[in-house]
């Protein structure tokens, strides 16, 4: 994990990114590199531009200036065909699921396969069932509609859909927000397992300190339109910047830290 960020093993390269909403500056010359097969967490207070950054990376929004390269493709002036091809190489799990209300869960998961590949319906159903099981959902959930599911189930189903096309890059927007601790733990484990299995690069937006300590390889702290701190949680814990300290010095930050820090040190020691 400690390899330097050369262009070859980076999946996302952001250089001098600037975004403005009217007078409000969201990103002011932001630089960030996501390496292949790492789990990078984006953290920052509300309005620090995490979600905007994610939307710009996944082609939902245009930055004002600066360059974003995803999987080696420059997003500026990207052609429609290239954008379509690129979109099939990543999966996105939206904060509130983004599942289509008019389709069953199984149809939701199978949709990318049905839309973009020539596989038979029977095979797509089998694969959808498997991805559903992989995210820890019961088989009968497949026949239900999104409105019938609980929040945690929606997140899992959304993750299963994001995984349908075996993406190289996975974006998770608040994967554990609004979940009970047990479900959140399961999501933690699921993310680690997926990375090991598919060699995925994962970008997570989160406020969940447990998720940060347990799952992320590196954490990028966003504040004032820039990345203020970048490194593993153990490294960030030693950085003395106000934007970073806020995360560790609040009561929640202190509560998550002590027992987790030991584990994190052990893990880094092992690799």
């Amino acid at each position: 994990m400690a390899s330097p960020a050369s262009p070859d093993n980076s999946v996302i390269e952001i250089r001098q990114l600037t975004t403005r909403f009217g007078e409000h500056v969201v990103h002011a010359g932001l630089d960030l590199v996501v390496r292949r097969a790492e789990i990078l967490a984006l953290v920052g207070g509300s309005g620090s531009g995490k979600s905007t950054l994610l939307r710009e990376i996944i082609l939902l929004q245009q930055p004002e200036s600066g360059s974003i390269k995803v999987l080696g493709v420059d997003l500026e002036n990207i052609s429609d065909a290239a954008a379509l091809a690129l979109r099939q190489r990543w999966g996105v799990m939206f904060q509130s699921g983004g599942l289509f209300g008019s389709l069953t869960i199984k149809e939701n998961i199978g949709l990318p396969l049905r839309e973009h590949t020539g596989l038979s319906n029977a095979l797509i159903d089998e694969i959808s069932d498997w991805k559903l099981a992989m995210t820890g959902l019961e088989p009968q959930v497949g026949a239900q509609y999104p409105a019938e599911l609980s929040g945690g189930m929606m997140k899992r189903a959304s993750l299963a859909r994001a995984l349908a096309l075996d993406p190289e890059l996975l974006f998770l927007d608040e994967p554990t927000a609004g979940l009970d601790p047990e479900s959140a733990d399961e999501i933690d484990q699921l993310i680690s397992k997926l990375r090991a299995l598919f060699n995925l690069s994962i970008v997570i937006i989160t406020h969940d300190l447990d998720l940060l300590w347990q799952v992320s390889d590196r954490v990028a702290v966003l504040a004032d339109g820039k990345v203020q701190g970048l490194g593993s949680m153990a490294e960030l814990a030693r950085i003395d910047l106000p934007a970073v300290r806020k995360f560790f010095d609040g009561p929640r930050g202190r509560a998550a830290q002590p027992q987790m820090a030991d584990q994190a040190h052990q893990q880094t020691g092992m690799t």
């Binding site: 590949t117 596989l119 991805k131 075996d166 598919f198």
Partner: protein
């Protein structure tokens, strides 16, 4: 970067005991050989060697298909030996091997037509009962507000009169004006044949005042305000605003439904009068243009033949239509549950049902009035 890879997945049976697989074993590349793999068989008891050294890409779909082949042939007691699969691909295949389960078909079976009829009937009955319940609740709330008129929200009523009544004037006026023109125009030909030109005043006056003005007004308002009520209350139900209101101690019916009903009971008759005026005016214009009946002659005849009863009959229907529109719109709004898409469904339902009920009520009025010789 093409969507379909340059080298799609291929299989070749070099000898009866050997299979060479190559190409891109991914969701994009494997579609072509799916049928080929299904037809693949080997004599039982033998061992099939799969040379996988030329597989260039392997994703979970490829692994799934490979595992499926292995299981199927395994059941036919054919041994499978996969050779020279790249280690990273083998890891994926091993995981698929552990997690492979063919789910029994969990899809809900398509119901038969008898099922559908039965379910439809039960749902319609249940909805009818719920509507009755809703009307009952509204009546109770109305009684409560009569007992304590000071606590009633008159400002909301005024606001609703403006939204549902005043703001609807242009469209109601325009459409009834056009309707008046159409009625006079259609009648003109027939009347001219008999030289009965002056009867255009009877035709336009009676049909507009008794039937068309109340009906067209009610239909426009049902489409305009009924749908808005259903959507507003439905959205509030989905976002738990209704529950919040109950928790804070505000009765949703008193705040959301009663002011709308009272406002509509005032606004719809007024709109109907407005529609009467513009409809007759449209007919009058047409009478002069097509039948050379002057305004004075038209109005003279109009006053003589069109009785106050005809006007009152038309006007009397308006409050009934108003009650139907608001009740159905709010009722469908309150029945919204689940996700945001159900708001759209309930809104559609509210418009369809309120227009349907308005026309049914109008037909019943016609029957009743003819029985009463009015």
């Amino acid at each position: 970067m093409t969507l379909f890879p340059a080298t799609p997945a291929e299989i070749a049976r070099t000898t009866p005991q050997e299979l060479v697989v190559s190409g891109t074993w991914t969701a994009y590349g494997i579609g072509q050989i799916e049928a080929q793999l299904k037809a693949l068989s080997a004599p039982s008891g033998s061992t099939l060697v799969i040379d996988a050294s030329r597989i260039e890409a392997f994703d979970s779909v490829g692994a799934w298909i490979m595992e499926k082949l292995r299981r199927r042939l395994g059941e036919e007691s054919v041994g499978i030996e996969i050779q020279q699969l790249r280690p990273e691909f083998a890891k994926l295949l091993a995981v698929v091997g552990q997690e492979f389960i063919l789910q029994a078909d969990t899809a809900r079976p398509d119901p038969s037509w008898r099922d559908n009829v039965g379910r439809g009937t039960v749902a319609a009955f249940e909805q009818g009962m719920a509507l009755l319940g809703f009307i009952g609740e509204c009546t109770l709330a109305f009684g409560k507000c009569l007992a304590d008129p000071k606590s009633f929200r008159w400002r909301t009523v005024l606001y609703n009169i403006r939204i549902a009544g005043f703001d609807a004037m242009p469209i109601v006026g325009l459409l009834s004006f056009l309707l008046g023109i159409v009625v006079a125009y259609q009648g003109a030909d027939q009347l001219r044949q008999y030289g009965a030109n002056i009867f255009v005043a009877d035709l336009v006056g009676l049909s507009m005042l008794r039937e068309f003005a109340p009906l067209i007004t009610a239909i426009i308002v049902a489409g305009r305000s009924g749908s808005a009520y259903a959507a507003q209350i439905g959205t509030m139900a989905v976002t738990e605003e209704i529950d919040a209101m109950r928790t804070i101690g505000i009765a949703p019916l008193e705040l959301l439904v009663l002011p709308k009903i009272i406002a509509m009971l005032i606004a719809l008759p007024l709109l109907t009068v407005f529609a009467d005026v513009l409809g007759v005016f449209g007919g009058m214009l047409m009478a002069r243009a097509q039948l050379a009946v002057s305004y004075v002659e038209f109005l003279d005849r109009f006053v003589k033949t069109v009785s106050v009863t005809a006007y009152l009959i038309g006007l009397g229907k308006a409050p009934v239509f108003a009650a139907i529109i608001v009740t159905v719109g709010c009722f469908q709004g309150f029945r919204t549950h689940g996700g945001p898409d159900s708001v759209g469904r309930q809104t559609t339902r509210s418009v369809v049902q309120s227009i349907f009920l308005v026309i049914v009520a109008d037909a019943l009025f016609s029957v009743a009035f003819s029985a009463l010789d009015l």
